[in-house]
Symmetry: C2
């Protein structure tokens, strides 16, 4: 078999603000390379789906102190890192056969050589409506992040009222469902952008979803959180976090999961209501799902989620994903939709061709 030609997106200019998709300062550049024939314990894979995650923005931030990141940054000149689902084209890895689907940190590349242990098989189950892409969404990192943050980090229980921002996102939509249908929280309030997303979040189980793009957002949030709330699951940071700091009950908890609103403007916007943490004795806990995965804690949670799906408590149909058919040259453009609020549920790039 001849060397495999592949296009790859390379990190060419680590951004300090909004990623740039065109021109000489482009954050990424498209290059073509060829991959050698896989050697022992290697496989050649073809990428089918790319996982788009807000965390990726952190991995490429310019001049970040690598000691302060939870994972190594992507270096200038390297292939942009991304979880993905791929198909085995040629395998010298025992247990992985041609045609099988695998997932792992494969990157923005059409084809890749992977080593043993770097990918694992994807077990879809069409009869339960569990599709391959759910393992990078509802039943993968985002679903586990939701479970970890809500159940373990801030210890949600049935008497709690929970607010979740980014409620229409991959993680947020799972927080809503887990809070309502697994933990059985008293009240679940979503925050999302736009009427359509809000109604969708309510269809997942939120008692109410407040539209942050509405001119009456502040009043509506205040009304929805009347009497204050025990738990805030924060996916967005920035202004919504500031507002929520004043809506948390005394001795309430914040699961600090993400800050997507600030990832492109780090150091610009600041949290102004910090004193609320003091006066209202709020507990804030940052967390990263890999801790729960590496410690083995997350193992049973996958089963819990799959059980939820089979019992009809957790919806993982097509509607919990936004699948975007994308030509390889448009991969960065689809990824950027994350920061434009363009997706409902998990944003998945479906590579064409």
């Amino acid at each position: 078999m001849p060397d495999q030609q592949t296009r790859q997106w390379i990190l060419s200019n680590p951004p300090s603000a909004d990623p740039v998709l065109e021109g000489p300062n482009s954050t990424f550049s498209l290059e073509t390379t060829s991959l050698p024939t896989p050697s022992t314990n290697q496989a050649l894979v073809k990428t089918l789906y790319l996982s788009n995650d807000p965390a990726q923005r952190g991995w490429i931030q310019k001049d970040m102190d690598p000691e302060r990141l939870y994972t190594a940054p992507v270096k200038k000149g390297e292939v942009m890192r991304s979880y993905a689902i791929a198909e085995i084209i040629e395998s010298n890895i025992e247990g992985l056969a041609k045609g099988q689907l695998v997932m792992g940190s494969i990157g923005w590349t059409e084809y890749a050589l992977v080593n043993k242990g770097e990918v694992r098989p994807v077990q879809a189950d069409a009869s339960s409506g569990i599709r391959p892409t759910h393992f990078i969404g509802a039943l993968g990192g985002p679903g586990l992040t939701a479970y970890y943050g809500l159940v373990d980090v801030v210890r949600a229980t049935a008497p709690d009222t929970v607010v979740v921002s980014g409620a229409a996102g991959a993680t947020g939509s799972m927080v809503v469902q887990i809070a309502k249908h697994i933990v059985g929280c008293k009240k679940v309030i979503g925050i999302a952008g736009g009427e359509k997303k809000c109604r969708w979040v309510e269809s997942l189980g939120a008692d109410v979803c407040v539209d942050y793009k509405s001119s009456s957002f502040k009043d509506e949030l205040k009304k929805a959180t009347d009497g204050f709330v025990e738990i805030y699951f924060d996916n967005v940071g920035g202004e919504i976090l500031d507002l929520m700091l004043s809506r948390i009950k005394r001795h309430g908890r914040i699961a600090a999961c993400g800050a997507v609103a600030t990832y492109n403007s780090m150091g610009e916007t600041g949290v102004k209501n910090w004193f609320e943490i003091i006066t209202n004795r709020i507990e804030v806990r940052g967390f990263i799902v890999t801790d729960a995965i590496e410690s083995g804690k997350a193992g049973p949670w996958v089963g819990e989620l799959i059980k939820g799906v089979k019992e009809g408590k957790i919806r993982v149909g097509e509607e919990t994903e936004t699948l975007v058919k994308t030509r390889f040259e448009d991969v960065p453009r689809t990824w950027r939709m994350l920061f434009e609020g363009g997706n409902m549920g998990k944003l998945v790039t479906v590579l064409e061709g």
Copy 2:
């Protein structure tokens, strides 16, 4: 006995920024009133010492939502609230005799009528060097705040390295001493303003104290916290908090005690490094000492601190207080020294006359 004339400082204009001490927009105004003869279960007291606490700034903030304060705000037209030590002049309260010293929330007033239960006797012990003012300082609110935050809220233990800001303040200076001499922490790093304060903080037991007024502050803090630290006891908020967010070890803890740097500019400066909380899984806990006092938890801690004093572990000499002799008309001026970094240890107003 005729009615007692007294001067009082009244909250006349709740401030939204720096308190104003002169002119038509003065935050406080000096008024004279007369107090009736104490009735049953009342006593007339003369104020000797005023406790100056950063928290007082929060109580007078303009347009604060009272539901979000840990204590009722001082209303416009009311006497400015303050802890104080006073002498009984005339008593109809059983157990309180003329000449006895008492403490309580007496306010900025020369004389006051107090009801039964509103004040409690102050038990000084000259032989151990424990003076009345220590019960509003090292052995009172600030000392208990230090103990509560460090030992209970962020659970400091001997292997921990602790950084404390406002280390020369009433609470901070006790955090340093408790961390080093009671908990036995591995390393204690103070942050304070100016050479003199820093050397003093080191004399209390800090391994090093970094001067935030120094032009090389950032580098010195970085050096002092090399390898990162487990615990940050935050008394100041603002920029120092932001810096410290990047110096806390993965899974480290922050005791959110105060934000004196921001009390006069609420909503202006924001915490910019919030994402550090996420990526480094930092736990932040706000706390207010009254919780520990009201729950009875703090009871044994006072004994622990007094034991520390008697064993020579905790220093409460004159040097742990800044006693400022003050004419009654200058009470707000002395109080404002809190925000100018003017005090070492507890700032106590000693009323003249």
